[in-house]
């Protein structure tokens, strides 16, 4: 479960997050929509402790992570998966090594088990057979899927995805959106996705939140938001 309480953040004297309150129950898939620069990535980074807020709380499974030291945060993060906007795979490692890295770091599995887990993760994202390739040899969509596999490989119970579909063609966008939904539901992950891909978001989200100038101006199920009469919401969803 994720709970955000009165979260404020200023960056370079600019208020980026302005009193965010949010609760995502275990197993729910929430999509945060918003224009470019609305503060989506900054909010998502607070959820995994990459940013410290000016004030407010971020609770992960009832533990306020804003009070934790970096060393304690590292432990909390082992249970979380984070998909970066650009994937952020290690470019000096091939796909296999990238996926094996978290397992080698945090588990005592032998090489055999690690290899099996990597194969399984690659199969989940429909990418069997690219183990030996380096990230620079993959297409953007493949890189994102490998990055998703890396985020999932530790059996994360919380999955955070920053714009999983940006920069992808419509078909790939749909595929990766569906993929995230299906893994999220299969492993009962609490999932938060940021996006400005309205169609896919409506299709896969349990709930949607609309972020504007650092505030959540609307939150609800796809049906609720579609029937909203707030003019900005209507405008945003029509575009």
């Amino acid at each position: 479960m994720i709970r955000v309480v009165h979260l404020f953040k200023t960056l370079q004297e600019q208020l980026i997050l302005d009193d965010i309150n949010l609760e995502v129950p275990q197993g729910e898939l929430l999509v945060i929509l918003g224009e470019s620069g609305a503060g989506k990535s900054v909010l998502l980074k607070h959820l995994i402790g990459l940013f410290k807020p000016d004030s407010g709380e971020v609770e992960i499974n009832s533990q306020d992570i804003t009070k934790l030291s970096e060393a304690e945060l590292l432990k909390v993060r082992k249970k979380m998966g984070y998909l970066f906007q650009e994937g952020a795979l290690y470019d000096f490692m091939n796909v296999f090594e990238n996926l094996a890295f978290p397992l080698e770091e945090h588990t005592t599995f032998d090489d055999q088990t690690i290899a099996e887990k990597v194969q399984e993760a690659l199969k989940t994202v429909d990418l069997a057979g690219v183990e030996g390739k380096y990230p620079s040899e993959l297409s953007g969509g493949m890189r994102k899927r490998v990055a998703l596999a890396r985020a999932l490989i530790m059996d994360a119970k919380i999955l955070l995805c920053d714009e999983p579909t940006s920069g992808l063609d419509p078909i790939r966008s749909r595929d990766i959106s569906d993929l995230i939904r299906s893994v999220s539901k299969r492993y009962n992950c609490t999932t938060v996705i940021t996006s400005h891909d309205i169609d896919n978001s409506f299709r896969i989200a349990d709930r949607l939140a609309l972020l504007r100038s650092g505030q959540i101006i609307a939150i609800g199920t796809p049906a609720e938001l579609k029937s909203s009469d707030n003019s900005f919401i209507r405008e945003f969803f029509q575009s």
């Binding site: 082992k78 984070y82 970066f84 952020a88 470019d91």
Partner: protein
């Protein structure tokens, strides 16, 4: 006036952050969080990358010392001291400083560019989201590798440099080979070797520190990587040369 104080303040703040960074690195080392495999890999890459260019420049430096020594010492009627001139100049000053400078331009630039690229591509943040401390995983092995590799490169530089002097001494100044070698061996005292060699460890930490820190600070895409890398090398070279003067004074005062 305000801007002047602002500049002073931000500079102080930056130095503070840089020192913080170094303290963080030292803390990991003291705790024994050292990845031997990574250290070996980094040492191998840093050493391999620099060894040929350092051998080449050292050979040339030794040779040019002997060439100049031939002229100057002949004037004083002391041509047989070329070997001493070459060996002592190399050991006390030239090899440590030259090696450190070349090392910072090769290995140091590589470190900043690597870490800087990782930083602008979010790979360092990603390391943290995977529950791994990037200081421990990425920085500590590189700093330790500098600390191990630079002294070795310095010794290689000293040996090759003396060889360069030997060639000029024997073939240009017609000094008998055996005599040249004897002179060299007798010239070198412990203090000559160590007064130069000790400084290298300081330079190694300096290079590792500055270049890793600049890599971690890199922002602004590929332009940023270029900018921060050249700055890291420039800072390293400036700090090596300036600190060398201070270190030399300290060592000479304490030790002669």
């Amino acid at each position: 006036m305000r801007t002047f104080f602002d500049i002073c303040f931000t500079s102080l703040q930056r130095v503070g952050e840089a020192i913080d960074f170094l303290v963080g690195v030292c803390r990991e080392i003291v705790k024994g969080r050292i990845r031997i495999k990574e250290v070996v890999k980094q040492s191998y890459e840093q050493g391999l990358q620099s060894v040929i260019i350092i051998a080449l420049t050292s050979f040339a430096s030794g040779a040019v010392l002997a060439l100049q020594g031939d002229v100057v010492l002949s004037r004083l009627g002391a041509k047989e001291y070329i070997a001493q001139l070459v060996a002592l100049s190399l050991l006390r000053e030239m090899s440590p400083v030259f090696t450190a400078i070349i090392f910072s331009a090769k290995a140091g630039a590589r470190i900043t560019a690597e870490l800087g690229t990782m930083n602008v591509n979010d790979q360092i943040l990603a390391t943290r989201t995977l529950g791994v401390d990037p200081i421990e995983y990425l920085v500590v092995p590189r700093v330790i590798a500098c600390f191990l590799v630079l002294p070795v490169l310095t010794i290689i530089s000293e040996i090759v440099g003396i060889l360069g002097g030997y060639f000029v001494g024997v073939y240009q100044s017609n000094i008998p080979g055996i005599f040249y070698i004897n002179q060299t061996i007798h010239a070198i005292h412990y203090v000559d070797f160590f007064s130069g060699f000790l400084k290298v460890f300081f330079f190694a930490v300096l290079i590792g520190w500055i270049c890793c820190y600049r890599g971690f600070m890199t922002k602004g895409g590929s332009l940023g990587v270029g900018k921060y890398t050249t700055e890291a090398v420039a800072y390293s070279i400036i700090f090596i040369i300036v600190s060398n003067t201070v270190l030399t004074k300290i060592i000479l005062t304490l030790w002669g």
